[in-house]
Symmetry: C2
Subunit: 85 residues, 2 copies
Amino acid sequence: MTRFRVAIHIVPRRGLLDPQGKAVSDALHSLGFAAVGDVRVGRHLVLDTDAESAEAARASVQRMCEQLLANPVTEDFHIAAVESA
Amino acid sequence: MTRFRVAIHIVPRRGLLDPQGKAVSDALHSLGFAAVGDVRVGRHLVLDTDAESAEAARASVQRMCEQLLANPVTEDFHIAAVESA
């Protein structure tokens, strides 16, 4: 068993309203960052897990995203990196 | 001016308590993912901005993080990618 560190991005699906992103965009405009357009706010998870291989770790994290971490109706997830920890 | 899409990761500083990460870790254990260890939950922002160059976009986003997006006491930020949108 090896310990892997996995990075996951979970973002609101494109086309859905993202009120938090809108609030950030408005706040940046108020601070003078006029060049800012669309902002999307999602979650960045870093998770340590033991697995036989990087592929097994990725498959396990995929199941975690489907079962708990991401909302399948409103969010997309992406496993960004799997590294030995 | 070119439009750039910038990805930012904002994570709780290592060593600080991350109650959300602890809750996720406990929930994953309850679901049978016993191999999961530490979990850190941060934010993943994707932001569109106009700038003269990728370097200018990165510098601008660095200032946004310092002024608004990240809490300098409890969080670390990392500009993960700057791409033409």
